[in-house]
């Protein structure tokens, strides 16, 4: 499979009164055509900022992409003009958000909001766009499409709105769909429906999905490839089956241990001790060292590099680095 988008050494920094926050710190990954890549991590680990960086929505004066490259086709998304980026957004790369209730304009009908990108990017006439909007509403599994097209966001439920968001996002046949915690605000039964909608629309158009979530259940269900982020860095990545069966990094192991397993009774779920480090106080060390059960001396003084393992998994941990054994 060809790679669709390649992120190389991306760093996104925010300037605050107290110093620079490295929200995304030198991360690299790629998404192949038709692949679903999940980015997992706690709140504040840089998942959403990665997505916003790809969309070109990091806005000054505080936020800045400090370096790196985002190769999409033959273009570098960080180098092209604003106008070019605007033409890619919603057309070739689209995005859905966590809160469907607030992601749609309350005073515009659903139909018009679906028609908008079609008329803008695909140069459709009003009539064509309306017909396509009806098709799209049906495609995401909402009955009575005509009636829905003429209603306003507050008349629909959260699950329906999220499916409308998906309809808008896939309307122009994007190559990449970024879904930023698309099911977090929905209850469990609706979650399943929304994920199903996502999977179906993916199958129909061979688009790639970059799914950001902290729900490991969603990961297991959707992902081909998983990237685990911690404090702005990738700590482990790999094929979903490998990663779930043989997690290497202590953080990933912790995450998987803290997930409830159906059929097993436990008085208390495991939780990783400690807190995410303050992004302003990061030092030259493994960012996870103070929460890690296997912390060694080297972990406190040097940052591990992301290494390839034999099975294709990559992990950034001194436990697996031969260099650590020499010291």
């Amino acid at each position: 499979m060809n790679s669709l988008i390649e992120i190389n050494h991306l760093s996104t920094h925010f300037q605050t009164g107290d110093g620079t926050i490295k929200a995304v710190d030198d991360i690299s990954f790629r998404i192949r055509e038709g692949e679903t890549v999940c980015i997992v991590g706690e709140s504040g680990c840089g998942k959403s900022i990665t997505a916003m960086s790809i969309m070109g929505l990091i806005e000054g004066p505080h936020g800045k992409i400090a370096g790196g490259q985002i190769r999409f086709g033959d273009k570098d998304l960080l180098k092209i003009s604003k106008e070019e980026m605007r033409r890619i957004r919603g057309n070739e790369i689209s995005m859905i958000f966590q809160e469907p209730m607030s992601s749609l304009n309350p005073v515009i009908t659903i139909g018009k909001q679906i028609m908008e990108p079609l008329m803008l990017h695909q140069q459709m006439t009003k009539k064509q766009a309306y017909a396509r909007a009806i098709e799209l509403i049906e495609l995401v599994g909402i009955p009575r499409a005509e009636q829905i097209a003429n209603s306003y966001p507050h008349q629909l439920s959260g699950g329906m709105l999220q499916r409308i968001m998906i309809a808008i996002a896939i309307s122009c046949g994007p190559k990449l769909l970024i879904a930023d915690e698309p099911t977090t605000a929905l209850d469990v039964t609706i979650q399943a429906q929304v994920l199903e909608t996502l999977r179906k629309s993916k199958e129909q158009s061979n688009m790639s999905i970059m799914l950001i979530t902290h729900d490991l259940g969603v990961v297991a269900e959707m992902a081909d490839y998983v990237i685990v982020m911690y404090a702005g860095k990738i700590v482990e990545e790999g094929d979903v089956v490998e990663l779930f069966e043989r997690p290497k990094h202590p953080y990933t192991q912790g995450l998987l241990k803290s997930k409830p397993i159906i059929g097993q009774r436990k008085d208390q779920l495991y939780s990783i001790p400690g807190q995410v480090p303050n992004p302003l106080e990061l030092t030259e060390s493994c960012y996870f060292h103070d929460r890690c059960e296997n912390c060694m001396t080297i972990c406190q003084t040097r940052q591990p590099r992301l290494m390839k393992m034999d099975n294709g998994q990559r992990v950034a941990c001194w436990l697996y680095d031969e260099e650590a054994q020499h010291e």
Binding site: R89, S103, N105, P106, V107, I108, T109
Partner: protein, 312 residues
Amino acid sequence: MQLSITTTVNKISKARSAPEASTSLFRQSIRQLRKNKLAVAGFVFILFMFLICFIGPLFSPYADGKINPAQMHQPPSAEHWLGTDLLGRDVLTRLLQAGRISLTVGLASMALSMTIGTLLGITSGYYRGFIDQLIMRIADLLFTIPSLPLLFIMGALMSEWKVPTDYRLYIVMIMLSLIGWPGVARLVRSQMLTLREREYMLAADVLGLRDRRKLFGHLLPNVFPLLIVIGTLSTGGAILSESVLSFFGLGVMPPTPTWGNMIDAANNVIDFEKRPWLWIPPGLAIFLTVIAINIFGDGLRDILDPKQNTSR
């Protein structure tokens, strides 16, 4: 006047943190408006005023406004329901013709100031930075000068430069909207500052929409309810300001009649004491029209203000 509009509208903008859909809101609003008897009465009166002012003179035998020295200063009679003025013209006919002008000036200057205010408010609230500073400082500048003296100066300038009477009407409209737009611009801007940070605007960004589309397609509909209320309330204000100007002979000049320059008769002691039919009707017309507009505007505001509704 200006102050009360500003505070009431601020209330609205605070209360309407989550605006509802416009069409369904529109239907709901009409249903609620019907319950508010006073507002309905106000609306009916405004409608009535418009109808008789624009249609009434067509049925009047004195609509040509000819001077008739034989009929000078007649008190109300079967022939002249509201008497005649010093040139023998029918006061009722002139009152209605004046109503056309006064209402038109009120509406037109409202429309103009709303357009300017909205455009500038949207631009400065959305883009912020230098353009915002520029627009808002100009607005502040206009705010610092009390509007009535400013209007007087401009009116006096018009007289000084001998602007033809026909044009004065239009210049008065422009003058009034020049005074009116800063208030509108401030309100729209403050709304825009919160609206632009809404998640659906980020979603609009993600769709790659052009700025023009974001401003007029997505943001403008969200401030519409606000605009309707300020628009209604400021029409009354504009009618009043025009009357004041014309009363002092600085606005629209005779022979073009307006309610303001008709009350000018009250400046003359003899007319004031002996011929009340000259100045009471235009006075009442201004009073009732402006009150009706304000009551209607208040009614609209109550509907669009969910907080007040629940407290009732």
